[in-house]
């Protein structure tokens, strides 16, 4: 039914270097198949992910944003991911409120040993975003 198009979603993936980044690595080395749509950006902690980074990624035309950090309780810096959680939760909700589809901004907890989970998350996120199509939110010139 759906016409196959050239377009492939581009996803900005902010991955905590202590867990999800290693998780993504593991997914790669253990040959778990996951779509190549996630452009990985290594961050020192999910707590580093300023909402500005999320919005800037969308502003620059990324079709989606994935933030992934250590499971609650496992933060290398004790509470970075707890703080990230509040921030990301509010950002997601506010962006939804102004009309950015919730699929565009997603978050997950993936540990260094969860290569399979990362592959799954990446695939799911890519599928979600494929469904809603390319990000043209900021494309219109306007004034």
């Amino acid at each position: 039914m759906e016409r196959k198009s050239e377009w492939e979603p581009a996803i900005a993936g902010f991955l905590c270097k202590w867990c999800s980044y290693a998780g993504a690595d593991l997914a790669g080395t253990s040959r778990k198949k996951y779509p190549a749509n996630v452009r990985v950006l290594k961050v020192p902690c999910s707590g580093r992910v300023d909402p500005l980074l999320i919005l800037k990624a969308l502003r620059l035309g990324f079709d989606g944003v994935l933030i992934s950090g250590c499971h609650p309780g496992d933060c290398h810096y004790q509470a970075g991911n707890y703080r990230a959680r509040r921030r990301i939760a509010l950002t997601k909700k506010l962006l939804e409120y102004i009309g950015i589809p919730e699929e565009r901004v997603q978050a997950s907890w993936v540990s260094a040993s969860e290569g399979a989970k990362f592959a799954q998350v990446a695939a799911d996120v890519a599928k979600d975003i494929e469904k809603i199509g390319p990000n043209k939110l900021f494309a219109e010139e306007g004034r």
């Binding site: 502003r59 620059l60 035309g61 004034r143």
Partner: protein, 347 residues
């Protein structure tokens, strides 16, 4: 003396219709209750009833809040630069004398030494039709700055409200041409002229806010280093850009580049001396403190600009008073300037 013309108010729609054949006609219009000059829809002339003045001054039609200067793309031969062309002929109907004067003041800056083609191309392609004030705001103080609410030499045609009709003064030849093919425009009589005179006197009398502008430049020079005075005056200013952005004579701008997905462009947009970063250099900022910025704003309008162009860069439109978030009132400042330096100097 040139003979004056007149037109019935109910014919304004028709007149604008005729002009629409040659021009993109702009009239005062409210969008979300913010009045500005925007494209006429071809029928609505209700502004003749509600319009006092726009929130956004018509300078925005020549120096827009943001404007693309050029776009660029890199290919294997290097950069390819493209300048957007704006050759549209425009006619602004209903500009107030204060705002028309404001445009004349910005003209001076954008013409001298180097011509600013972005501003001037729009300026040259635009005809200004002035409309006299009938109901000035209590914040207006134009008469203190030599602007008459019902007369203007800064437009092509000047319309004065004399009841059911407008008296039309042909200020420029361009203006005269505009009336040539308008059948509904009649010759004005002496009685019409007399009516206009009465209106002029009445409306001028309605501008109640007064500032003694004589000697202001000298007084400002005298108190330039009076830090205590300027600190006090600046205390409640919040350093936003409302007064400057919406001032009909302010022209400062910023230039910046943008590059998204290999599509690049250079833009310019309004900037304000109220902003702390306006003069920020890597190591120093000559106007880091708020009182210096407030002083700059006042001195530029009433001391520096007059030194360069022999006239104060203020038309008394009162926007800065009406729209200020904290009611910072420049007329109070101008009336309270100390006669001489009374406090410690600066630095």
């Amino acid at each position: 003396m040139t003979t004056k013309k007149k037109i019935s108010k109910k014919d304004i729609g028709k007149l604008l219709g005729i002009w629409s054949q040659w021009f993109s006609v702009l009239v005062p219009s409210k969008e979300e209750n913010v009045a500005k000059m925007v494209g006429w829809d071809g029928k609505d002339v209700s502004f003749l009833v509600w319009y006092r003045n726009t929130v956004v001054p018509p300078k925005a039609n020549f120096l827009p809040p943001v404007e693309k200067m050029f776009s660029f793309q890199q290919n294997r031969h290097g950069y390819h630069v493209e300048v957007p062309q704006d050759e549209q002929k425009r006619l602004i109907f209903g500009i107030r004398p204060c705002d028309a004067r404001g445009i004349t003041m910005i003209d001076k800056v954008f013409v001298e030494t180097y011509e600013d083609c972005y501003y001037l191309s729009k300026r040259k392609n635009t005809v200004l039709i002035g409309l006299s004030c009938t109901n000035p705001y209590d914040s207006c103080f134009c008469t203190s700055l030599g602007v008459k609410p019902t007369e203007s030499a800064d437009v092509d045609l000047m319309f004065t409200d004399i009841g059911d009709e407008f008296l039309i003064e042909e200020v420029t030849d361009k203006g005269k041409e505009l009336l040539a093919s308008a059948g509904m425009v009649k010759e004005a009589t002496k009685a019409d002229d007399a009516k206009a005179k009465t209106v002029q006197a009445t409306v001028s009398g309605m501008v109640i806010r007064k500032v003694d502008t004589k000697d202001i430049a000298r007084k400002l020079q005298a108190c330039f280093s009076d830090r205590d005075y300027w600190e006090k005056v600046a205390a409640k200013c919040i350093s936003c850009g409302v007064c400057t952005f919406l001032c009909p004579t302010c022209f400062c701008f910023d230039i910046c580049d943008e590059l998204v997905k290999k599509q690049g462009a250079r833009y310019r947009g309004w900037d304000s001396c109220s902003f702390r970063l306006y003069t920020k250099m890597p190591m120093e900022n000559p106007r880091e403190e708020k009182w210096r910025r407030v002083r700059q704003k006042v001195c530029h309008k009433y001391q520096f600009y007059p030194m360069n162009f022999d006239v104060a860069a203020c038309t008394g439109c009162g926007r800065c008073i009406r729209l200020c978030p904290v009611n910072w009132d420049v007329t109070q400042i101008l009336s309270s300037l100390p006669a001489s330096v009374t406090s410690r100097g600066d630095k």
